[in-house]
């Protein structure tokens, strides 16, 4: 029998060096974080033996605290939808800072085509347009919102790919531009009173449904389609991708377009959930979305990471936020701690990559 682990010239293949998927590390971190919160709850004197994971009204009949899990996921679902797109952008080696304001702008625009004519028998007090824009089928605001997102993404991508503007700068410009659009759209007034169908999009646990559904779809796309393969290839070695005949510029435009459409969809879901759209919505969302991706092991150098990683990153962020509230950590401390955790995640990732190389 030929020894298959032995290549010509003594090249050997060490099976033990097979990669341990990065996602498992994040899962492990998630478990550790949960255990730490559980321990603080059980043993810290001021917590009176509460539990993070379980309902402990009756200590002998502990049942899993589903409500907390639901709230955690619900809290991260909308930003998580943005993070799915940001992940793809980061995998190409880029960055997208425009998503937070894009959420607000899309919320305003979509909501203004989703308004009802009458509220409790009176004309809609927040009506932005005339009767022609009232009581439209839900598909209209959704399509308009997504189309707006697509335009913003195409503009981002075109500046980055064709005019060689660094992604940081191009999307920073778009960040301000979109916030401007959100303020200008209705002169700073909230847009409210959507149709029932529009209000359904973000009602109850629907944001979680969309997040999970989109995460599954994009995980499959990134792993099994030409689009996904080319996205990784561009982030891995843009020159090689170009030499292999990939239309790198066109592909980048498509990636930014998809990312912005996901952010736009997040804006639709958010305005539906809040049953109103306001120009200040989505503040810091772009940063939390990037944080989810980074915690989830997406390398800012590009070429590395997965949608599953980002979903886990979103869970880590959600658990930390919920856990901090649970151990009664003040909001200001929460922000400081979260900042530290994000930086720590990147340091850890770089350390891991250096050890691998």
């Amino acid at each position: 029998m030929a020894d298959t682990s032995q290549g010509v010239g003594g090249l050997t293949f060490d099976k033990s060096k097979r990669s341990w998927p990065n996602e498992l590390n994040i899962l492990l971190a998630l478990v550790i974080i949960i255990v730490v919160f559980e321990a603080i709850g059980q043993f810290a004197p001021y917590m009176n033996g509460q539990s993070f994971l379980f309902d402990t009204k009756d200590r002998f009949d502990s049942i899993f605290n589903e409500a907390r899990l639901q709230i955690i996921i619900l809290q991260v679902a909308i930003i998580g939808i943005i993070a799915l797109g940001v992940t793809q952008v980061i995998i190409t080696g880029g960055i997208d800072l425009s998503s937070g304001p894009l959420v607000a702008a899309t919320a305003m625009i979509a909501m203004s085509f989703a308004q009802v004519a009458e509220v409790n028998g009176f004309p809609n007090p927040k009506a932005l347009f005339g009767p022609w824009a009232m009581d439209l089928p839900v598909i209209v605001p959704v399509v308009i919102g997504l189309a707006f997102g697509a335009c913003i993404g195409i503009i981002n991508g075109t500046f980055i790919a064709y005019f060689r503007i660094p992604p940081f700068i191009a999307t920073l410009g778009m960040f301000l531009f979109c916030r401007g659009i959100a303020l200008w759209w209705s002169g700073g007034n909230p847009v409210s009173f959507p149709t029932d169908a529009y209000a359904w999009i973000g009602s109850g646990m629907m944001p979680v449904v969309w997040f999970v559904l989109l995460a599954i779809i994009f995980q499959l796309i990134m792993s099994y389609t030409v689009y996904g393969k080319h996205t990784y290839a561009i982030g891995s070695n843009e020159e090689a991708a170009r030499m292999s005949g990939i239309n790198v510029k066109r592909h980048k435009v498509m990636v930014y377009m998809i990312a912005s459409m996901l952010a736009a969809f997040a804006g639709i879901v958010l305005s539906s959930k809040a049953v109103t759209a306001q120009a200040g919505m989505g503040e810091f969302y772009e940063l939390f979305a990037i944080a989810m991706a980074v915690i989830g092991g997406i390398s800012l150098q590009g070429g590395r990471g997965s949608i599953i990683g980002t979903v886990l990153g979103a869970m880590v962020l959600g658990v930390i936020r919920s856990g901090f509230t649970y151990i009664k950590l003040d909001g200001s401390y929460q922000l400081m701690a979260m900042g530290a955790i994000i930086v720590a995640a990147v340091i850890l990732d770089q350390y891991r990559q250096r050890n691998r190389a």
Binding site: G7, F13, S19, V226, N237, A240, R242, G245, M254, G303
Partner: protein, 258 residues
């Protein structure tokens, strides 16, 4: 006009700003012929390759491939016309594995009506990769390994296997054995001999005198962006070639050029 010419360049020139990397290169490659390009570092060999393969746009001059004047707008154009190239930079995506790299930009797919979201046919690409590696005699311990986990020589083997596993009208290799050990070099040279037997023409950029004398029919020497010699292997030897490379000698027909 005889049509046994595979590739011809007339006055091929490339300037990078003020750098005249390639000047007035006139070159002919006949059917089935194996030609080596030699010259010192920075002589313009890779630049010549990049102009032929559409990676860059030439400053002036003509390229005639397979009887037609061509203006490749990108490497994919050249590849579709039948030119397979191993670039000096290898052009591999580090985070992807061997089949991914072999088929990058020309993936085998299913459900093509899905457009950019058409599915990758991993199974068939893996099988083809194994076949190609077997055919070319290249041994890679595990094709599912990503390129970043491979040695320089293994990377080079992947790049060469990529070139050799697709049928082509012309193969170009830019220093394919630069990082290879003795056995791997022998492997690559065997691939080149196989191409010769199959009558496939080849342009080989190499600094390795022994290899060049072993493998090719003709040697072109570049010096400071110009072709300074065109030598049949039987009519030259190592010392002679070195004289052209270093500038001690210049071919009669190129007098006044360099």
């Amino acid at each position: 006009m005889s049509n046994d010419i595979v590739l011809e360049t007339r006055g091929l020139t490339k300037h990078y700003g003020g750098v005249q990397a390639l000047n007035d290169a006139n070159f002919i490659l006949k059917k089935g012929e194996h030609v080596a390009i030699m010259g010192d570092n920075g002589a313009g060999k890779s630049t010549f390759v990049r102009q032929i393969t559409g990676v860059e746009q030439r400053t002036s001059g003509d390229v005639i491939f397979d009887g037609q004047p061509v203006n490749f707008t990108g490497p994919i154009d050249a590849r579709e016309a039948g030119i397979e190239t191993v670039f000096q930079t290898l052009a591999l995506a580090d985070h992807l594995d061997v089949p991914d790299n072999l088929f990058l930009g020309r993936e085998k797919t299913k459900l093509d009506w899905l457009g950019p979201f058409r599915l990758l046919d991993y199974k068939s690409m893996r099988q083809d990769t194994l076949d190609a590696l077997e055919r070319t005699g290249v041994k890679i311990p595990n094709i599912r390994n990503t390129i970043e986990r491979m040695s320089g020589g293994q990377r080079q083997c992947v790049a060469i296997a990529r070139t050799a596993s697709f049928a082509s009208k012309l193969t170009i290799m830019d220093e394919p054995t630069a990082a290879l050990g003795v056995q791997e070099t022998a492997q690559v040279e065997n691939i080149i001999r196989t191409l010769k037997e199959q009558g496939e023409p080849l342009i080989l950029v190499s600094h390795n005198m022994r290899q060049v004398m072993d493998l090719v029919d003709r040697i072109i020497v570049f010096r400071r962006g110009r072709i300074v010699a065109n030598l049949r292997k039987e009519e030259t030897d190592g010392q002679d070639i070195v004289a052209y490379i270093t500038g001690a000698k210049t071919g009669a027909e190129y007098e006044g050029a360099a």
